[in-house]
């Protein structure tokens, strides 16, 4: 059940991120080609690309959490006896989840305030709260993953990230 959920979440976010990336590439290509060939860029293309980059990049954070790929300083790992590694990794995941939830709640507050104020983008006159929502979403999605890793260590990914 949990592996299927984690896998489904990963692929849903992966498709979302790649689609956003395609949006960045298409918008910028159209804008640059329009400017170079016809002397006029595409209205709002740069801003659209910025928003797509924000969405793709922030979603990328959650995807990297899913694969254990974030850079992590490991030089203090030796302080904990190896036999306690399993339990300590679970504690570490719970702390990471707590940090993500803590920041996620503030991010949610930020989005709600933007929604209430009706904030619009500069350069592309659209409401920005749907795009800003990616920040709390990614933090909560990562928190959920960390909690599931702590509850079921078998689903915890092997760290891909290199020592920093």
């Amino acid at each position: 059940m949990i592996p299927r959920f984690l896998n489904g979440l990963y692929w849903a976010e992966a498709i979302f991120a790649v689609t956003a990336f395609a949006g960045v590439a298409l918008a910028l290509t159209a804008d640059v080609l329009g400017r170079e060939l016809f002397g006029n860029g595409v209205y709002g293309a740069q801003k659209f690309a910025v928003y797509c980059t924000a969405v793709a990049g922030m979603t990328g954070f959650a995807l990297v959490v899913a694969k254990g790929g974030h850079l992590r300083p490991k030089f203090l790992d030796g302080l904990i006896p190896k036999r306690l590694n399993g339990q300590f990794n679970r504690l570490s995941d719970l702390v990471a989840a707590a940090i993500c939830i803590y920041l996620g709640l503030y991010a949610l507050q930020f989005v709600i305030s933007s929604y209430q104020l009706g904030e619009r983008g500069l350069g592309l006159n659209i409401l920005v709260w749907p795009i800003q929502s990616i920040i709390p979403y990614v933090l909560f999605s990562s928190a959920l993953r960390y909690i599931l890793f702590a509850l079921t260590p078998a689903n915890r990914p092997v760290e891909e990230g290199f020592d920093t």
Binding site: V50, A56, G57, I99, F162
Partner: protein, 420 residues
């Protein structure tokens, strides 16, 4: 007391095995709450949004994407073939070809690891089969890979430009001279070390075929750098052109990528951006606070009051950056230190572009030095060689790079020639 709590918090997050982004986020939250005037965590989130809502960031995903397309496709392989046939008459030609392939690939990719893997996956087995020692082969691939961040385009240069408001195009131009000099140093070392090895004469048919097959790949750096240098493209535009060109070449000429590969390329790029973008956003917030609180100005004043000799200051900054490069990844180092050190460098009369390139040159050496040395770890995984062998293998190259660093730091003209 607050400082003790801050240091304690950093130590705690390290012991609790948190990743670098969460550590930086918690530190930034602490700074907002306890150090900054009239600030709170809401401002951190607001700063994160403002940091990612900027057009200047657009060149980063585009260069990463273009590099990923080229690495998955046949561009690297074709570049290597061209270099191999062109250097065949030189004793130790394969070693020289490895360096030149890294340099040319560096001119289309902005990453050290991508360059090392793209060239190394083909060149490392070829060098071993060609009778070169394992130690030299792995050393030249690891060190050649670092050319990826000094020869433009370069992701660290974009990061430096963003954090210090220096034109990214100027940073790219600044990297050309030092990049070519380091390539020359590596070529000379490779030649001198293998000058007694047998060579083969040029075969025109082979050269013709290699150039025909690799011509489109070779045109890439010409279009990219030519466009930026002539002022036709901005950095973002050149990144778009690089991507479009790479896609056209792979789709219609090389035709070796499948639809699945394109999805994987997009996914890998999203993940890479997922490690960079949050770092940029959080570092951007810290930078805003530091600026608001006047920290860079105070730091400059304190340093100038205590160290009057610019030479000692320059030496001190280089030593600091070499140490930082050895213990921190280059992205985090630039995002945190560039806004603090640039004003100090400017105060002793250094050009911002020269300082930026010098900073990247210092941190570039960090790719080869433990404990962080990303190229060492990636090479260990990719080429299945023991860590001790890889560390020993890069030592002569680190020596060469230190000589090069002295030249880069003391000769501004090398960096600024193409900028002016």
């Amino acid at each position: 007391m607050t400082t003790v709590a801050f240091l304690g918090l950093i130590a705690l997050t390290l012991v609790l095995r948190q990743n670098i982004i969460l550590i930086l986020a918690i530190c930034a939250a602490f700074v907002h709450v306890h150090y900054a005037t009239n600030s709170s965590i809401e401002f951190l989130i607001q700063d994160i949004w403002f940091a990612i809502d900027r057009e200047v960031l657009l060149s980063i995903p585009m260069f990463i994407l273009a590099g990923a397309v080229m690495t998955r496709g046949a561009i690297a392989l074709r570049l290597i073939r061209v270099m191999m046939v062109l250097t065949a008459p030189i004793p130790g030609g394969l070693a020289v070809a490895a360096v030149l392939s890294c340099a040319v690939f560096a001119a289309i990719s902005g990453s050290s690891i991508v360059t090392m893997l793209a060239i190394g996956s083909v060149m490392y087995p070829a060098l071993i089969a060609g009778g070169y020692s394992k130690s030299f082969a792995i050393g030249v691939i690891c060190s050649g890979g670092t050319l990826g961040i000094i020869i433009p385009p370069s992701i660290p240069m974009i990061l430096f430009g963003i954090m210090t408001e220096v034109s990214v195009a100027k940073m790219f131009m600044g990297g050309i001279g030092p990049g070519l000099l380091l390539t020359l140093f590596f070529v000379i070392y490779s030649y001198v070390l293998h000058r007694r090895m047998p060579s083969t004469p040029w075969r025109l048919a082979e050269i013709g075929t290699a150039l025909w097959q690799g011509g489109f790949a070779l045109m890439m750096p010409v279009i990219l750098l030519g466009g930026i240098y002539s002022g036709i493209f901005t950095a973002t535009e050149s990144a778009v052109i690089a991507l479009v060109y790479a896609l056209l070449v792979e789709l219609f000429i090389h035709r070796e990528l499948k639809a699945k590969d394109y999805f994987q390329t997009g996914l890998e790029t999203a993940k890479l951006l997922g490690t960079l973008l949050p770092l940029i956003a959080i570092a951007g917030s810290l930078n805003t606070i530091l600026d608001y609180e006047g920290v860079p100005k105070a730091l400059v004043a304190a340093v100038i009051n205590n160290v009057s000799d610019p030479l000692i200051l320059l030496l001190g900054m280089n030593v600091l950056l070499l140490i930082v490069g050895a213990v921190m990844d280059i992205g985090s180092a630039i995002l945190v230190l560039a806004p603090l050190l640039t004003p100090i460098a400017v105060s002793i009369g250094m050009d911002k572009v020269h300082f930026g390139v010098m900073m990247i040159a210092n941190l570039e050496i960090g790719y080869l030095t433990p404990p962080v040395g990303l190229n060492l770890f990636v090479a260990m995984a990719a080429f299945k060689e023991p860590f001790s062998l890889i560390v020993r293998a890069v030592v002569p190259f680190i020596g060469i790079m230190l000589v090069w660093l002295v030249i880069v730091a003391s000769w501004p003209g090398l960096t600024l020639y193409f900028v002016r």
